[in-house]
């Protein structure tokens, strides 16, 4: 204790002396320090500029719309310049824009690997899954819009309620009246039958096909490619049994069922999971005809 107190007073007296009369040397040192800091800042800015010039950026034009904020009720396009990295997808670029420039930019996404089906968007005039669309495959500026033929809630988010209703309408779950004998017995499917429905099981409910379909756009009651594909997946499943298949065909051969399809192949072209939707719809049409026309 006794040694510390005098030391403290010593120090305080030192600083006091400095405050009262800063020496010429100190002033020069301060000046030098300030100049060094300025130099460093200038050098950093130059480096950043050079890096920015070297860096490849992509221009993104993103549809913006927010019905809740007065100034944003008029749809507009916002331009974002995003530094390009190899393997960058449209979703990556959107996330960068949101995290770096505008946190109010709204879009759905979840798994980022084309499994969840959340981020179907209208990219450069086509329905695409943003997470599996490479920036390098697209022409600049990249135009990102919400899915056509659906109501826009905000920015890139559309109302999918109707789409889900259509999907539910075909009862998209396994049903059968024929159960195996043992309680723990498996309901086996033949390899051929599995192969037949394999592609149709890949649907991720992204609604890209529904959005691309001109008929679905004009006829709100049309089941749409995704729902019909779901119906195909179960109608063609042999384990469901004959009467269940009959029931499923009755759903899809209604007026706004398979017969609305005009084979434009739009759905097949846009499907991110490469499901041959038109082929499945056509096959169900033939099934329906076979089911209803019997000459014997």
């Amino acid at each position: 204790m006794s040694t510390q107190i005098p030391k403290q007073t010593d120090e305080s007296s030192d600083t006091d002396a400095e405050a009262e009369a800063p020496s010429k040397g100190d002033e020069r040192r301060d000046e030098k320090r300030r100049r060094a800091a300025e130099d460093r800042a200038r050098r950093q800015a130059e480096e950043a500029e050079k890096a920015a010039a070297d860096e490849e950026t992509v221009e993104l034009k993103v549809f913006r719309y927010d019905p809740e904020i007065e100034g944003k009720q008029e749809p507009r396009f916002d331009t974002f310049h995003v530094p390009f990295t190899k393997g960058m997808t449209v979703l990556d670029a959107l996330m960068y824009s949101r995290d770096t420039y505008d946190s109010s930019l709204t879009f759905r996404h979840s798994c980022r690997q084309a499994v969840c089906g959340s981020d179907a968007m209208f990219v450069n005039g086509g329905q695409k899954l943003a997470c599996k669309t490479q920036i390098s495959d697209l022409e600049e500026p990249i135009r990102v819009e919400p899915l056509p033929h659906a109501e826009v809630r905000k920015d890139l988010v559309v109302d999918l309620e109707h789409f889900y209703d259509q999907m539910e309408a075909v009862e998209p779950y396994f049903q059968t009246n024929e159960y195996p004998d043992g309680e723990l017995e498996e309901q086996r499917q033949t390899r051929e039958n599995r192969e037949k429905i394999k592609m149709s099981t890949r649907c991720i409910w992204c609604s890209a096909c529904m959005s691309s379909c001109n008929i679905a756009a004009g006829d709100n009651e049309y089941l749409g490619p995704a729902a019909i594909n779901k119906a195909y997946r179960f109608a063609m499943d042999e384990r469901e049994g004959e009467d269940m298949k009959q029931k499923r065909l009755e759903i899809i051969e209604q007026e706004h069922g398979v017969w609305r399809c005009q084979t434009q192949f739009s759905c097949t072209e846009v499907c991110p999971k490469d499901i041959p939707l038109t082929e499945h719809i056509q096959e169900l049409k033939r099934e329906a005809v076979k089911n209803n026309l019997k000459f014997w």
């Binding site: 549809f63 719309y65 008029e74 749809p75 450069n124 005039g125 086509g126 135009r143 819009e145 919400p146 056509p148 033929h149 659906a150 109501e151 826009v152 001109n214 756009a217 004009g218 006829d219 709100n220 009651e221 005009q262 084979t263 434009q264 192949f265 739009s266 097949t268 072209e269 041959p276 038109t278 082929e279 056509q282 096959e283 049409k285 033939r286």
Partner: protein, 142 residues
């Protein structure tokens, strides 16, 4: 169409940027179908002049009395516009037939993977047949 979606202002933004063969095939098929229906009415109107012609009705044509049916057809064929429209009619009819065959195959589930190629094939074939028909239709028109 009464229940179509309302996207309001959003629909004003550009669309149709991506080309899809199947969609254009559908549009052309609809268009040519309507043109052919329209043609059917003019066709019936011209042919029906045969009814008065059978009863001996005549008209003045190139300074002499000709029967109504022949007179109508020959005078129509004399118009340059009709000659050109005939080429268009052939193109429309040929495309509608070829694309109709294509749609038939699609309905039968044949060659679904080649649906875009068959559309291009029907377009090219239509073009070739139309060009080949020009000498026949236009001969002596100018």
């Amino acid at each position: 169409m009464s229940q179509s979606y309302n996207r309001g202002l959003i629909e004003d933004f550009s669309r149709w940027r991506e080309f899809e063969a199947g969609m254009w095939a559908w549009i052309f098929h609809k268009f040519t179908g309507w043109v052919l229906i329209g043609y059917l009415f003019t066709h019936i109107a011209v042919l029906s002049t045969a009814i008065p012609a059978a009863d001996g009705a005549t008209m003045m044509f190139q300074g002499s009395q000709t029967d109504v049916f022949t007179g109508t057809i020959v005078s129509l064929e004399g118009l340059l516009l009709v000659r050109i429209l005939e080429v268009g009619l052939l193109a429309v009819a040929v495309f509608h037939m070829l694309n109709g065959t294509r749609l038939l195959l699609v309905d039968l589930g044949v060659g679904l993977e080649a649906q875009d190629k068959s559309f291009y094939a029907s377009l090219i074939l239509t073009g070739a047949i139309t060009v080949a028909s020009v000498p026949t239709f236009i001969a002596g028109a100018f």
